[in-house]
Symmetry: C2
DNA sequence: TAGAACCCTTGAGCGCACTCCAAGCAAGGG
DNA sequence: CCCTTGCTTGGAGTGCGCTCAAGGGTTCTA
């Protein structure tokens, strides 16, 4: 596993597959490098398509749960962290501000008594996403019309 | 017409109405202040929801066609300029970078011989928008699932 | 004739989401 | 032992899309 620090995800971004209908049922989890439940930062880079910089930055701003460290201080991500990153990726591409995701992360850290607030936040997000889809469909109609004109 | 320079579109932003299905057929064109085919910048602010700053900035970066001026140098927008701004607004909310819109504006200025290139650009954009909608629908599924769990 | 409201220009500043830098530590191979 | 690779840190820098400030002109109403 040799991933340079500065590699900006050459192709491995698994966030978008090239043409599939994106309704993959449960994508066979992460292509996890080994059977062990801990991964180095560069392994996480490989599976998420994020940069190591971004992963550390997420941690600094409080977007990540506590990440285990090796005896030498290196990060050791676990499966639940990868799952969390998958969710974050989804939320991110809804356009949700990072600050809101941090808020959600805080609620998760605060434990079960925040269930209601979390649901509320997710429902607001869902509403926004639906509105956004409607907006985009409106735009699509305009594009179709314009493209017609140019034909 | 009294619109302060610094007013950040108090409510008149016509981009999102509060709850409607957003599939308004043809919104009765612009609510054009008078029957004349020229508008001051603040009138354009009122109909587009953009700020005057943003309108001037659009002009500076080459996103606007040539805008007429009054004998004292003030901008006098015309109906075709408002139509252009409507299109720009649509493209903007697809997430198209401003630089690409500027490119499109350049093609328009270059005249009829760029029809093919314009269509190509719009088709690429349409493709992106479709992909984006699919992405968002995938995210929606995740949100639905999560919200289920919190119930 | 004053004052308010509106407009102009150039150039700097801001918020977001990263992105990179410099300096240094730790482990493994030759 | 040294070299390379990969990781660590705090803080500075970047690109985008605006957003505002400063300083001044014009136009309307009282």
């Amino acid at each position: 596993m040799t991933v340079m620090e500065t590699t900006p995800a050459p192709t491995p971004a698994p966030a978008r597959d090239q043409g599939g209908p994106e309704i993959c049922p449960p994508p066979p989890a992460h292509p996890r490098p080994d059977g062990q439940d801990h991964y180095t930062i560069s392994e996480v880079v490989a599976v998420t398509g994020l940069t190591a910089h971004t992963l550390r930055w997420y941690e600094r701003i409080g977007l990540m749960p506590h990440i285990d460290r090796s005896h030498t201080g290196q990060r050791r991500y676990r499966n639940r962290d990868l799952d969390w990153l998958t969710l974050v990726g989804k939320l991110r591409l809804t356009g949700m501000p990072v600050a809101d995701m941090v808020r959600y992360a805080e609620l998760v850290r605060e434990g079960e008594q925040t269930f209601a607030q979390r649901r509320e936040l997710l429902e607001r997000t869902r509403h926004d996403v639906r509105a956004r889809i409607a907006e985009l469909q409106g735009t699509l109609a305009v594009l179709d019309h314009k493209i017609d004109i140019y034909s």
